[in-house]
Structures are given as C-alpha cells and as structure tokens.
Amino acid sequence: MKDIKFILSGIVFGVILTKADVISWFRIHDMFLFKEAHMYLIICSAIATAAVSVLLIKYFKIKSLDKKEIVIEKKILNKGTIIGGGAFGLGWAITGACPGPIFAQIGFGEWPAIVTLIGAVLGAYSYSVTKSKLPH
C-alpha cells in the first residue's frame, strides 16, 4: 500500500508536468531565449504556493500523517551546487528535460528520451565514482 501511494502521486505529478508543457523542449528553449513567460510563471507560482504551504505547516505545527513532526531536509551548499548546477543547466537546455520530465517524455512516447535517461543514469553513476576527486 505504501508503494501504491507514491506511484499514484507520481501519475498525478506526471499528468500535471505534461499538461503544463514543462516537458517540452520548445518551452525550455523559449524560456532560455526569454521569448515567453510561460515557464517563469509556472516555476514562480509553484515556488510561491509551496512557500506559503510550508509557512502554514510551520505556523500551525502541522504533523505528518504518521503523527510525527515534519522535518525539512537540509540541502547541502558547496562548490558542487554551482559547478554541478551549471552542468545540469547545460543538459537541461540540450535535452529540454529536467529529471522528472525525462520520465514523462518517455511515457508520452518520445522514445529518444530513453537515450536521455541512459545518459542521466550513467552521469549519476560517474558522479558517484568520481565524487572523492571532485571539488566540493
């Protein structure tokens, strides 16, 4: 049952990403060309909605469903945030897909995205084996 919950919420998330057009290479390209506001409006309204929700969770001390205190994972900040972030940005502009949309593109039948995914898995693997030699 625990597994089903994540698959079902993933399906809803995938439908929203697809219908929002954020899985479109053309939209990503136009975003980086500053040709249209579509992507910026989606990203900013998503952040704003999430931020207000998080503040409400904190203010009302809302607990998770298993009655535990909600703990927000700390994101590490180091050189990797900038170097890795820049590398991801290049890849995002090339493939027209950040990690979630890669899976939505595959599901939608854009089969070249399978190659994007293979590249991404190998990229993640390469990072894990070179981690100790990279600046952090």
């Binding site: 309204s45 999430a50 900038i82 990690p99 995205a113 994007t116 993640a124 990072y127 981690k131």
Partner: protein, 159 residues
C-alpha cells in the same frame, strides 16, 4: 471539452506543482526531489551493496523511484487520453543519430550535474527555495547560467 486537451494555463499547473511540496511532507515527511531516482536506478542495475558504499541510501530514496514510474505512466495517460493528436515535445532532429548523440551527452550532464549539485529543478528550485534554503537559490542561478550558455552560445554550433 477541447480545452482540457490543450496546454493547461500556468496559474493552474504552477500552484498544483507547488502543492506537491506540502503534500509529500504531510503524507510521508519527504521533501520533493527527483534526481536521486537516477542513483536508485544505478543501485538496481548494479550491485546494491557496492553502490551503498559510495554513500547512497537506497532505502530512503526508494519512494523517488516509485514516483518516477508514476510520472512515466502519467505521460502515457496524457498521450492516450488527454492530448491533441500530433502534439510533440522533442524537435524532429532529435530522431536522428546526431540528435540521439546530443541527447545522450545532455542526459549525462543532467545526471552528473544534478547529483553533483545535490538536486534539480524540483529538489533545489521548488523545494529548496520554498523552504528558504540559500543552496536552492544558488543552484537555480547556476542552472540558468548553464542553460543560457548553451542556448545562446553553443546551440548554433550543434544545430
């Protein structure tokens, strides 16, 4: 009826995407993030024990793998029931050997970069910034620097 098949407006989809942050926090105390799923695929394809040595916690990220399977099914659902025929998300030239090579290189950068940066658009830009973490903002600026460099300076070399 036809409008639901078109692109949904940003003021519907943006807030809905944002609501996944409180939803996942309340339902399972997880911070929305997706790029760790690549590592999870590695740990399935490779020997899990060997992979756990490199500091990857498979148990705590298993949900992301299930989540991305859902995303894939969501894409399929849209293709079958919720999209105008003829809708495409990738340019035609990506269906060639040259295009696939470019996608592979781009995919590699996505996988390598997101793990090096410890997050992607969902983990850093949405979850990170909305929980007021400086790393989220710095990562997002870096994503855009990379994307702008490719689109404005390199794109014409490869296309």
């Amino acid at each position: 009826m036809s409008s639901i098949l078109n692109t949904w407006p940003w003021y519907i989809t943006g807030p809905l995407i944002g609501l996944f942050v409180p939803f996942l926090l309340v339902v399972s105390n997880k911070l929305l993030g997706i790029s760790s799923s690549f590592q999870h695929i590695c740990s399935i394809v490779l020997n899990t024990k060997k992979f756990s040595v490199s500091g990857y916690n498979a148990a705590s990220n298993r949900w992301k793998f299930l989540f991305v399977i859902g995303i894939l099914l969501g894409g399929l659902f849209c293709k079958v029931l919720l999209t105008n025929p003829g809708t495409t998300f990738l340019p035609e030239n990506y269906y060639t050997a040259k295009g696939l090579t470019l996608l592979f290189a781009g995919g590699f950068l996505v996988g390598f970069g997101t793990r090096y940066a410890n997050g992607c658009t969902s983990g850093h830009s949405i979850s990170g910034i909305s929980t007021f973490q400086l790393s989220g903002l710095i990562a997002t600026v870096s994503f855009f620097i990379g994307g702008l460099i490719y689109t404005h300076f390199l794109f014409s070399l490869f296309n």
